[in-house]
């Protein structure tokens, strides 16, 4: 047997968590222990998840590398493959190949404060880093998480949000778009950039990690700039359509930068260098 780049690991779905309408989290375990042993990844990387007979789809690994023995992914049911994934039950076998892409330079952030800003379904790629940082809590100063979704129902990882809320070493701010609040909603109401401006976290010795829909990113960057964040202090991820995950299929490039190899993690400074094609 040759080394086949396209050959996925067989993964068993151990647990399915319903997160929000159309959004599920799968906890996946390697069917073969040997695969599990040689597999390693870092925060920020992604993989190709596949339903045999339907196809492959790209999303990040949502669990932190500090938790061994399984990986998790969270996806929203939108296309052909995510629909098929959504139809899978606990115990089903799916494919996974990866990890691909670059990583969040967590080691370089040692001794700094972290500010996480996420919108909607973009919390999963960040959750990996958040847990990674929380598991190594002593390495960082303040950790602030600002998370917004369209409505209360659309907030993902509701259990974990409660968890973070109770932790004394994390400052969690949740918000929903105006009109999306429920009667008993205790969090903020307003769009993410507005809330960031209101909370006004200090930029001193702080790294900001921003993930969300393009509009959110577009309006959050200026707010961060006003708060004194330089472009090198802001990290984000790009999500482009991909097929291979390793720089061959020709889809994901933005100019000469391949999101699958050079990304998905970019600093705002790097993004500004890219042509407007993402």
């Amino acid at each position: 047997m040759i080394d086949n780049l396209y050959m996925p690991y067989l993964m068993r779905i151990e647990r399915i968590t319903y997160e929000a309408p159309g959004v599920k989290t799968f906890m996946l375990k390697f069917v073969n222990d040997a695969d599990q042993e040689k597999f390693s990844y870092k925060a920020g990387q992604f993989g190709e998840y596949s339903v045999y007979g339907v196809g492959e789809s790209t999303f990040c690994i949502a669990s932190p590398p500090t938790r061994k023995g399984y990986i998790e992914c969270t996806f929203r049911q939108t296309g052909k493959v995510t629909n098929a994934l959504s139809g899978c039950e606990e115990g089903s076998i799916i494919g996974f190949r990866g990890p691909y892409g670059n990583v969040f330079p967590i080691d370089e952030w040692k001794g700094k404060s972290l500010l996480f800003i996420a919108g909607g379904i973009a919390l999963p790629p960040m959750r990996c880093v958040i847990w990674n940082a929380l598991d190594l809590r002593e390495n960082f100063k303040d950790i602030t998480i600002i998370y917004g979704a369209r409505t209360v129902k659309d907030l993902v990882y509701k259990e974990e949000l409660k968890d973070w809320e109770l932790r004394k070493d994390v400052r969690l701010v949740t918000t929903v778009d105006p009109g999306g609040e429920s009667p008993d909603w205790k969090g903020e109401v307003g769009f993410v950039p507005t809330i960031v401006e209101k909370i006004a976290p200090s930029s001193k010795d702080t790294i900001a990690i921003v993930c969300g829909p393009p509009v959110m990113i577009k309006y959050t960057f200026p707010v961060l700039a006003k708060l004194g964040f330089t472009d090198e202090m802001i990290y984000t991820t790009l999500e482009n359509r991909m097929k291979c995950g390793f720089g061959k299929c020709g889809r994901c490039n933005v100019g000469k930068v391949y999101v699958c190899k050079d990304g998905p993690v970019f600093t705002a400074a790097q993004l500004k260098e890219l042509p407007d094609e993402y």
Partner: protein, 266 residues
């Protein structure tokens, strides 16, 4: 064509239209589409027997439509396509001016689409002799022979979709083959998938195809896919008395007659 150049210049200079679509000398011995947006470019306009690309394919193209009102140097097949597109609400008098080129290579300008319709209705859609012979030849084959003929002919097809791109009637922003829920036709080029794709194309063009051969001319592998639509044209004639693109009235396949023949139904 001196008349065409002169008229194109007038139209552009008077801002009556934003763009004139015609032909220019291409590379090698080819001709190609030209989009005249300023009067100097109009000098490049030509017309001769090599100008066979169906320019109506550009009428529904986003990048061209955005420019504003257009004038099209239209040969008979192009005029037919325009009428068909108008009948499908893809183009109206407000956004097109037809500079007709008659089969005798004379320029006639039409005031509106109704006049174009009247003009094209003078000519029947005729299938040329060479293709007619080919159709007859296929007709005489046995069913397994025909099957083999098409499997062999379509096997080289690598699904570049040049046939679809060149066809003025294939203007859907998302074609059936681009959908994946359900995936009607396999994305990779496969023997059966290729046949399915070309059957689908022929069916979707039934009653709409005006037999311009753009699909065949565009095919980089010269697969005679136009035979499929030609057969449909003949069948439409046989079963329903044929059709001409028309601004008003029912489309062949979106209507019915209570007495459509049904000798094959038990």
């Amino acid at each position: 064509m001196v008349d065409l150049i002169k008229r194109a210049k007038e139209l552009i200079e008077s801002s009556s239209v934003k763009v004139v679509i015609g032909y220019e000398q291409g590379t090698g011995n080819k001709t190609r589409a030209l989009f005249v947006e300023n009067s100097e470019d109009a000098d490049k306009l030509i017309f001769d027997s090599r100008c066979i690309q169906n320019l109506a394919a550009y009428i529904t193209k986003k990048e061209i439509k955005e420019k504003g009102k257009m004038a099209v140097a239209a040969t008979l097949p192009v005029m037919r396509s325009i009428i068909q597109l108008a009948s499908e609400f893809q183009v109206t008098d407000a956004n097109i001016l037809v500079l007709g080129i008659t089969p005798e290579s004379k320029l006639i300008e039409f005031g509106n689409l109704a006049e174009v319709e009247k003009f094209v209705h003078q000519y029947e859609i005729e299938i040329d002799v060479r293709n007619k012979e080919m159709l007859d030849k296929l007709e005489k084959m046995t069913q397994p022979e025909r099957w083999q003929f098409w499997i062999d002919e379509l096997a080289p097809c690598f699904k570049c979709y040049a046939c679809r791109a060149a066809c003025p009637m294939c203007y859907c922003s998302r074609c059936t083959v681009d959908f994946n829920q359900p995936q009607w036709i396999p994305v990779p080029s496969t023997e059966l998938g290729n046949l399915e794709w070309h059957i689908m194309r022929a069916i979707h063009l039934t009653g709409r195809c005006i037999d311009c051969d753009a699909c065949y001319n565009a095919c980089p592998l010269s697969i005679p896919i136009n035979l499929l639509t030609k057969r449909m044209l003949l069948d439409a004639k046989e079963h329903f008395g044929g059709y001409q693109p028309a601004l008003k009235g029912e489309h062949l396949m979106s209507t019915y007659k209570p007495d459509d023949k049904e000798n094959f139904i038990q």
